[in-house]
């Protein structure tokens, strides 16, 4: 249904989340850090980005800030999933559609994903 990017340095977690989203019918692209993700976002324009916080090269917060600074890709919604930095992320509600704490409930995540996708005009994401 939609193209979703998952950014997480922890490979096992990223693939696990990717599988869950693919089961929901979405196409998933993984990235190991924010800088790689930014390059690919500019190329492929996902409908949604789900990102971790604590990562090498660029944190999830830095990624969201860089994303929003770019007018072309700024509108793409970002969901942050974090173990310890949830509170820090919530101080920036303008950057994140939602902030989920790890470990998260899969059903709740899927719910937030659908909400985020639904908020884009028309429901179905553009490619």
């Amino acid at each position: 249904m939609a193209l979703i990017f998952v950014i997480d340095d922890e490979y096992l977690l990223a693939t696990l989340l990717g599988d869950i989203l693919e089961d929901e019918g979405h196409e998933v692209v993984l990235a190991p850090n924010g800088r790689v993700a930014l390059e690919r976002v500019r190329e492929r324009r996902p409908a949604l980005v789900i990102t971790d916080f604590m990562m090498p090269v660029m944190t999830g917060l830095e990624f969201a800030q860089a994303l929003q600074a770019d007018a072309e890709i700024g509108p793409i919604p970002v969901i942050l999933v974090s173990g310890a930095q949830g509170a820090l992320a919530r101080e920036h509600p303008e950057l994140f559609h939602a902030v989920l704490d790890k470990p998260y409930d899969n059903a709740r995540l899927i719910d937030e994903v659908e909400k985020a996708l639904g908020q884009r005009n028309g429901g179905d994401a553009e490619r």
Binding site: D9, E10, Y11, P32, F53, M54, P56, V57, A84
Partner: protein, 469 residues
């Protein structure tokens, strides 16, 4: 650049084992099978470093998720969630290694260390790095490069690996130190031990040291015999009363201050009673400590009361400690005993009995050296020690001491014996040895009454006397 200043581990006993701690800017391998304690150890060191103002970069490859690790560490007192993502960050670099190889991984580590201004780098997954390497040379280069760039910025490195030291591992030649953690079975018990297998530029305490994992993290107990020798205390010349006037006379005036006296005898012969007399002379000016394995404090006080022996109150200069005879660690017991003696400034110590240490021992062959070292350390504290040893034979004149060479380390030896004479139990007390003083060697009758121990007349040769040599 690497200097000789130290990064302290914050782990009890470990900095002593490492002769001050890790060398700042140096690199170490922490080796151990899964479950041995590497993760807890490295996190404990990391959080201690953060508490002292350091910054940590904790790098994993393919391992349990970071959140899972945090949940496990939540129960540890050193873990502080508020530091995550600030002074300590955890990142996984598996994908970089998988997609781009060791060379890129080295660069990433350099950039991340700089970006985060890390002063401690923990790299968990050296074994994985080896899997990815084409040859041993690649791993050696990897370690050398990471080590070099970390040293350049003064960052200390801990490489964690699951390989065992028995495997030939080329990277061991590159690092400055190798610490191995093991978890083995001794009899029915599990014993955790730590060994510094290599220590460049620092004189670590060699051999195996036991450790435990608690909610406070890891606590190590440096092997007593491996510690540098202690200086003697300056208590020469003074004598302490045993609490029994007649016994003081027989001993030539009392017990030499700082000496170690062993009371040997079968069960019921009066060893504890004698110890209680000794402790009855404790007070605020001469603090006493009872370190025992058998009687609880309440029971001991009851016994003293039944014997008519007055003991100071708990806040009046006498501390009663009891360690159950469960699965103990001798070094832990020794360290605790010495710390307590030191903390209390104890002048009178009653150790009831040495058998408690013996039962706790996993390697009985070291006991003679262990006891000798323990006694030296107690002497160095200036405390006068009276220790009991239970002989197995209930009746009879035979004397069997614990270990052939232990008598050489004792200063004084008192024997309590029991023989049957005309269907009556005859108790006796005799002095076998008093170092550097004259004494009366005759065996004397001993009675246990409600007025304490009563020493009677010398017994005739035969039953109750020392057996012929």
């Amino acid at each position: 650049m690497r200097g000789t200043s130290r990064l302290t581990s914050g782990v009890d006993g470990l900095d002593q084992i490492l002769d001050g701690g890790f060398i700042e800017g140096a690199s170490y391998i922490i080796l151990g099978q899964p479950g041995a304690g590497k993760t807890i150890l490295s996190n404990q060191i990391a959080f201690n470093h953060v508490a002292q103002g350091g910054r940590v970069l904790y790098v994993t490859l393919l391992s349990e998720s970071h959140e899972h690790l945090f949940q496990a560490l939540d129960s540890m007192r050193f873990f502080d969630r508020s530091r995550l993502g600030r002074e300590i960050i955890y990142v996984s670099v598996f994908q970089t290694l998988r997609d781009q190889g060791l060379g890129e991984l080295v660069k990433l580590l350099r950039k991340e260390t700089k970006r985060h201004q890390a002063t401690l780098l923990v790299f968990d997954g050296l074994l994985n790095a080896r899997d990815r390497a084409a040859t041993d040379f690649d791993v050696k280069s990897f370690v050398a490069e990471v080590q070099g760039q970390a040293a350049f910025v003064g960052c200390t490195v801990l490489f964690l690996t699951s390989s065992s030291s028995s495997e030939v591992s080329p990277e061991h030649t590159m690092v400055d130190g190798v610490i191995e953690l093991t978890d083995s079975i001794a009899g029915l018990r599990s014993i955790r031990q730590l060994q510094v297998r290599k220590s460049r530029g620092s004189r670590a305490l060699d051999g195996l040291h036991k450790f435990e994992i608690t909610t406070g993290g890891i606590i190590t107990y440096p092997r007593l015999e491996s510690l540098p020798p202690s200086r003697g205390a300056d208590v020469a010349g003074q004598k302490l009363s045993t609490g029994l006037g007649p016994l003081d006379e027989i001993l030539g005036g009392g017990l030499a201050a700082g000496s170690v006296t062993l009371i040997g005898g079968p069960t019921g012969s009066g060893k504890t009673s004698l110890g209680l007399h000794f402790l009855s002379r404790s007070g605020p000016a001469e603090p006493g400590l009872h370190f025992g394995f058998f009687e609880a404090p309440g029971q001991l006080r009851q016994k003293a009361a039944a014997l008519g022996i007055g003991l100071p109150a708990d806040d009046g200069g006498l501390t009663i400690e009891r360690t159950p005879l469960a699965e103990n660690l001798v070094d832990k017991l020794a360290h605790r005993l010495i710390s307590q003696v030191r903390a209390l400034g104890a002048r009178r110590l009653f150790l009831d009995g040495l058998g408690g240490f013996e039962r706790a021992s996993v390697h009985p062959a070291r006991l003679p050296e262990f006891f000798a070292t323990l006694m030296d350390r107690l002497r160095a504290e200036g405390v006068t020690t009276v220790a009991t040893w239970e002989m197995r034979d209930l009746l009879g004149g035979q004397v069997r001491l614990p270990y052939n060479d232990i008598s050489a380390t004792l200063d004084n030896l008192i024997l309590l014996r029991q023989v049957e004479e005309d269907h009556a139990l005859v108790r006796s007390i005799s002095i076998q040895k008093v170092r550097s003083s004259g004494f009366d060697p005759a065996a004397r009758a001993l009675k246990i009454s409600d007025r304490g121990l009563i020493i009677g007349d010398p017994l005739s040769l035969g039953a109750g006397s020392p057996s012929s040599r």
